[in-house]
Subunit: 337 residues, 2 copies
């Protein structure tokens, strides 16, 4: 194995000089720099990660805590992970993969053993047992999603309030005057990943502001429940011409149910969804949608961490603006009615 002293000898300098060339922490003359870099290349030198970590108390590794077993969001998670790794590499860091199951002990373990310099925690719940720990750890961290008590923590996510508003705005601009939000099943609102409430709040506020009538309905993603929800919705709101769906698994079922109830999309009913682009594109009728910007979240999360590692201060909350992609499922309200 080739080490720093080998490089130093060959370049005719001391090991510390080589180190300074590598880190740039002290000025080095151009000539020396060139000689050192040449030696490094010729010898194929790579600093020993362990030694480096020991001496500098920096491992240049980030931990990424992922829910590795769950179901629906998998491709989005993958995109996110990809963005994290890629961005981390751009900042000369690597990524250590931890599972949700390792829980608090896992976090403490990698932190105490100085295996990583910082943490990214995905899939944060409203009442997340890890938040007190994260606050007390000496390592910087970034959470994906917002817990109930977010103070003292750095969090990032799609701005769900703005998302709800944006969907209503889109429908309003198309001339719709009576809209509904079909959300997650009741238990999600209760257990709470928080984003459900925020979408609903944005939705309702925007509808109010635009002076259009609105309803919010939770919805189980089963064929029977969907059927019933749709029937009730159409019965109670005969003037309904637009719906926003924030419920991935129910989306295809809903489309089907509406069509069976005689509503053509988009002629009779405009549909906007909050879901991954993939799903929106591959639906029976391609659906106008707002996607979770997984890549951007991943990238920004890493950049927040890097800033924190460099001692810069960063905003507590980062809310990414929603981007609505128009597809065929939403159209101006027909002249009739």
């Amino acid at each position: 194995m080739v080490k720093i002293t080998d490089v130093a000898r060959r370049a005719g300098v001391s090991p510390s000089t080589v180190s300074y060339v590598l880190s740039g922490k002290r000025p080095i003359s151009a000539a020396t720099q060139r000689r050192v870099e040449e030696s490094i290349r010729e010898l194929g030198y790579r600093p020993h990660a362990g030694a480096r970590a020991l001496a500098s108390s920096r491992s240049n590794v980030l931990a990424l805590v992922m829910p590795l077993r769950s179901g629906v969001h998998v491709p989005v998670q993958m995109q996110f992970a990809g963005a994290v790794v890629t961005t981390a590499r751009r900042h000369d860091h690597d990524v250590l993969l931890l599972t949700q199951e390792e829980g608090e002990d896992g976090l403490r373990r990698v932190a105490d053993s100085a295996l990583v310099d910082a943490l990214i925690v995905m899939d944060v719940q409203l009442r997340d047992a890890r938040t007190p720990l994260l606050r007390s750890l000496p390592l910087p961290s970034v959470l994906i999603g917002f817990p109930a008590e977010a103070d003292g923590l750095t969090c990032i996510d799609l701005d769900f309030t703005a998302t709800g508003e944006s969907c209503v705005g889109h429908l309003a601009r198309l001339g719709h005057r009576c809209v509904a939000l079909l959300g997650s099943p009741p238990e999600v609102y209760a257990r709470g990943t928080g984003f459900a409430q925020r979408t609903a709040a944005g939705f309702t506020a925007a509808a109010h502001r635009c002076g259009i009538s609105s309803t919010v309905l939770p919805c189980e993603p089963t064929r029977a429940a969907v059927q019933e929800t749709v029937e009730r919705l159409l019965r109670d709101h005969p003037g309904l011409t637009g719906v926003v769906v924030h419920n991935e698994p129910a989306l295809p079922l809903l489309l089907e149910a509406f069509q069976q109830a005689g509503m053509r999309i988009p002629q009779d009913l405009s549909v906007v969804a909050v879901c991954p682009d993939e799903l929106a594109e591959s639906a029976a009728v391609p659906v106008t949608s707002v996607a979770i910007p997984a890549e951007e979240v991943g990238e920004r999360a890493v950049e927040l961490l890097m800033a924190k590692l460099n001692g810069q201060s960063v905003p507590d909350a980062t809310l990414l603006p929603p981007r609505l992609t128009q597809r065929v499922s939403s159209a101006p309200r027909g002249p009739a009615s």
Copy 2:
């Protein structure tokens, strides 16, 4: 930060003794052991990963190289990654995530810098540029999938030959006498991840052995191509009563096309697929299938690596037996004909 000398002092022993208690590499009296362990607990001591890596030249980290951007197989990859992390932890190792894109340089980097002790490489191609490098690296590695030249490499995957055989066997036992394999598009056979050929070989050999007639057809996963393939197949093989589908994206299209051609499943035609269980279950007609045993592959891959790290010798090739799950798409051939 609490270090080994702190533990040693509190337990009234030397640092080396603490180390030996932790590693078990030398006999320690029961009494001392207890005292040391107690001190460790009381102080919350965790060995510094970098220091440990430096002194022992073992990082206790595995690299997992994943294709993080691709499309279809995502949930399977995730399962696999989950199994790798979980199993690695059981062996007191962590997992570093690398993307495919980092390529050979990435492998060399983590190897040379002693960041990791071993490598797991997913998504290996028939002609994979990384195989020569893996052969020459001093680190042990395990490949998921088989390259063309596998000698000197440790590989693991589903036994696709046996899979082809198993599908035919299932159909034969149900009384079918004329079957077809609908495989991947031609370019996949050419570019080659290898498994396509092996499935076809197993399929054909088994059909021959059972004395039943068989065809193999590649198949593009587009609506038009599927339509045409199905028509041709039914025209050329009027006695056909069973098909094996080894083409994930085409599966739903094929089911639809067969039914539109007047073949009821399973009354007129039995279908067996090679695809993730998820997909098989959620098809219009739940499909009898053989799945990639992602979890088992991940677990076994890690265990192979651990064995290699311990200096044990392991088999070059590990082929996991297929497990066929019967669903409603396959049934005994009707009494007619």
